[in-house]
């Protein structure tokens, strides 16, 4: 193990109006070290790496790179100093091809043909095969991430920053990514790895810095801690896993037969012949890597995309050709992944947002006139029951933090006494405590007799709350399996394996 210091961060502070994102943060990374930044959403991890990458300027504090003062004013400068970054939300251009995307992230790219050749060589050296001429819009999430990594590798970085790289990968793809990262580390490239997946960090990282509310609360060697200890350091309190009681599944509440839907999005995935049957009291977990038809499935179930009448049945009645309000009346509520703009209208108040979805089942509109008093008390009920932190129900949805808005959106649907619940990514970008309360609410609704469909990319979440498990892969839904006794390998295969990535490593 090398002991020379690569990057030192000393006393960095960054404040935004109303919130201190980082307060006196210090840590150091050695050459070739895999170092993890751990923390909940909002702990200040992203702001910190943005400062290292030159996207944000610190208010005070210093950084040193290989002993020399390091103050990048823009990403260009950071890149030329040997710092590269793979973004959490991919910074890729869908309508451009792989080589063009790579060229955009380089300072002095070679001619397209030479670049294509280098992409091929480097991608095969690191076991991440890529065709430089393919359009990025046609690639899977795992392949897109390879584009980002290759873009960084072509510049021989000394420090590679990775912001939550595994959230979009299948377990097999994660394995391959880790192999690549270990290979890089053994060649002397340091890696700053941001995640809140604790097992991954224990598996991969040499050191960890734990952030809570913008401050460093601990520095440790993750292998010497248990996942539970790490989690409690992150959250600062003891966590209780959701409790679920015994239950007997009831009649079929949601029956989907041969559902095929063309995607409304040109780079989306069409659903092909999807079958599923969910009973009262059952939670069906649907896994899958992003972009395999999750959005389309939610749209088809919620009624935003009409289908054949009998492709979707609620309690035995065909509703496939009906819109969202008719389906709500029949007992089906849905909460899509995108909170702002899809689940909630950003500039409307919480009351108005509650009214938009709750009007039908809660009788908030009579003879075309809105019953504002009931709408307000409905919204207030949701805020109270689901612990939504907001100054009041007159606040615009946009003003709430992601986690609070998610609690409101889920709470709004669950408070309508539904018989069928469909949610997509219910805890995406939500802190651990809020996520736990959302999961508990879903379990409670199922216990009260609702049929629940949870679409999620978080496998731990599905394994924790679902009774049965299936996976979406390329718009096809696998047959359901009981969660008990399912291994991670089996799940990975259901999710589509590693998209042919193993082959290259066999040669490497």
């Amino acid at each position: 193990m090398k002991d020379t210091e690569l990057l030192a961060v000393e006393g960095i502070t960054k404040a935004y109006p109303g919130v201190v994102a980082n307060s006196d943060v210090s840590f150091r990374i050695r050459e070739g070290e895999v170092h993890s930044l751990l923390g909940e959403n909002g702990a200040g991890k992203s702001t910190l790496v943005k400062m290292i990458y030159g996207l944000v300027k610190p208010d005070s504090g210093r950084m040193r790179l290989r002993g020399a003062a390091y103050e990048p004013k823009e990403p260009r400068e950071a890149r030329s100093s040997g710092v590269a970054m793979v973004f959490q939300h991919f910074s890729l251009f869908e309508a451009l091809n792989v080589a063009e995307n790579v060229a955009l992230g380089m300072e002095n790219p070679p001619a397209q043909r030479a670049l294509a050749e280098r992409i091929r060589t480097v991608s095969e050296d690191y076991g991440l095969p890529l065709d430089p001429n393919r359009l990025v819009g046609d690639l899977s999430a795992g392949e897109r991430q390879r584009v980002e990594i290759i873009r960084c590798l072509l510049q021989d970085p000394k420090l590679l920053i990775m912001d939550e790289p595994t959230s979009v990968l299948t377990p097999q793809e994660v394995e391959i990514l880790f192999k690549t990262l270990r290979q890089l580390s053994s060649e002397g490239t340091a890696i700053l790895y941001i995640s809140h997946k604790l097992e991954e960090i224990r598996d991969l990282c040499d050191g960890a810095t734990i952030l809570r509310r913008g401050k460093v609360v601990a520095t440790c060697t993750p292998r010497e801690k248990t996942a539970r200890e790490l989690a409690e350091l992150m959250v600062g309190e003891t966590l209780t896993p959701p409790a679920r009681g015994e239950k007997v599944p009831g009649d079929v509440a949601l029956d989907v037969v041969g559902l095929s839907v063309a995607s409304p999005n040109p780079f989306g995935t069409s659903l092909q012949n999807v079958h599923m049957r969910v009973r009262k009291g059952e939670i069906l977990g649907i896994a899958g890597v992003a972009g395999n038809g999750q959005d389309e499935l939610l749209l088809a179930l919620s009624g935003e995309i009409p289908t054949d009448r009998d492709a979707v049945k609620i309690a035995g009645r065909g509703v496939g050709d009906q819109g969202p309000n008719a389906r709500r009346l029949a007992g089906l509520v849905a909460a899509p992944e995108e909170r702002l703009g899809h689940a909630a209208a950003p500039d409307m108040s919480l009351t108005e947002n509650a009214l938009l979805s709750g009007a039908v089942r809660k009788g908030l509109v009579r003879h075309g006139m809105i019953d504002w008093a009931s709408a307000r008390s409905f919204a207030e009920g949701v805020v109270k029951d689901f612990d939504v932190r907001t100054p009041g129900v007159g606040t615009a949805a946009r003003a709430l933090s992601g986690g609070n808005l998610q609690k409101f959106v889920i709470g709004r649907e669950l408070s309508q006494d539904p018989t069928v619940i469909v949610v997509n990514q219910p805890t995406w970008g939500v802190d651990a405590a809020a996520a736990a309360s959302i999961r508990q609410a879903l379990i409670d609704r199922a216990a009260a007799g609702a049929a629940v469909v949870v679409i999620s990319q978080d496998l731990d979440e599905l394994l924790e709350i679902a009774d049965n498990f299936c996976a979406l892969n390329g718009g096809r839904l696998s047959a359901p399996r009981p969660v008990q006794g399912l291994t991670v390998d089996e799940i990975g295969l259901m999710m589509g394996g590693a998209h042919g990535m193993e082959v290259a490593h066999a040669h490497a």
Partner: protein, 309 residues
């Protein structure tokens, strides 16, 4: 010969008739590929038309007139860029306002210039080549602006396809957040693209007032800027198809005038609307393939960029 119309003369005159729209559409194409929807094209064209006319009349040089036209169009475009890129105003409303502003400004500036003849723009001397049968009138007897517009088609295509700057411009129009994260200056790139678009629209306008008509009348552009906007969309944001669209429109416009003159038994109203109808029909059929990738609309088109988001 059909109804007394000589196809060679028809082709030669359609090229001249299409040039204003072609120039404006090429400029707008670059602006839209960078992600800005500029609905002020009509206003920038007519501003260019009057600026070019005034300068050409006073200096006696059509070339200086065209330079002034480009500057005038670009100045209005920079105003649009300041409003939309710096003050983050709504692009649609600002574009419509720019058109109305351009129309009003040009009619104010044009007071007293009606009925004056501008200095003529000479054809490029190709010597004996111009006297070749068929090819001569079509290829070798036009003014320099027309050749410039054709060179601009090739230039725009090559710029977008082969140059680094063109790649960055397309990237900005595709995903401005990602481009910003990679360290590209989204607003600067868009401002430059807009200025280029305004200059091209100005040239197109001056081609009307200095070559096609050639004199100053209020509202001289008569909706040519709107047609240019439509052609960019139906041409799937590709320079080659913009050329095709502009030439179809120009061709049908010229043809219907000849048909009217020849006294064909089709109502004048139907003939007059034919260019709009046929251009849009042809381009719709061509872009009717499925998927956004095939259509080629820049994904960030018309979206406001703010670095803090």
């Amino acid at each position: 010969m059909i109804a007394g119309i000589d196809p060679v003369v028809l082709i030669a005159s359609l090229m001249a008739a299409s040039t204003p729209i072609l120039l404006a559409a090429l400029g707008e194409l670059v602006a839209e590929r960078s992600g800005v929807l500029n609905l002020g094209v009509e206003g920038m064209m007519i501003t260019g038309a009057i600026c070019g006319f005034i300068v050409a009349v006073h200096t006696g040089s059509p070339f200086l007139g065209f330079v002034a036209a480009a500057a005038g169009g670009a100045a209005l475009a920079l105003l649009f860029a300041f409003l939309t890129q710096v003050l983050l105003s709504n692009q649609v409303a600002t574009g419509l306002a720019a058109t109305l502003f351009g129309l009003g400004l040009s009619s104010l500036m044009g007071q007293g210039y009606s009925g004056i003849k501008p200095p003529p723009t000479a054809n490029v001397p190709f010597g004996p080549l111009a006297h070749l049968p068929v090819l001569g009138p079509i290829l070798f007897s036009h003014d320099w602006v027309l050749y410039f517009s054709l060179a601009l088609v090739v230039g725009t295509w090559a710029f977008l396809k082969y140059t680094r700057a063109g790649l960055v411009l397309r990237a900005v129009g595709e995903n401005h957040d990602a481009a910003h994260a990679l360290g590209y200056r989204v607003r600067l790139i868009r401002t430059l693209a807009l200025a280029h678009g305004g200059a091209c629209a100005g040239l197109g306008g001056a081609y009307l007032s200095l070559v096609r008509v050639p004199q100053w009348t209020e509202g001289i552009t008569a909706g040519a800027g709107w047609i240019a906007l439509a052609i960019v969309v139906f041409a799937s944001w590709r320079p080659g198809r913009v050329l095709l669209g502009a030439y179809i429109f120009g061709g049908v416009s010229v043809l219907q005038l000849r048909l009217q003159a020849a006294g064909i038994a089709i109502p004048v109203q139907i003939l007059s609307m034919a260019p709009y109808l046929i251009t849009i029909l042809v381009l719709v059929v061509m872009s009717a393939r499925r998927g956004r990738a095939a259509i080629g609309a820049p994904a960030a088109l018309g979206r406001v960029f703010h670095a803090s988001d």
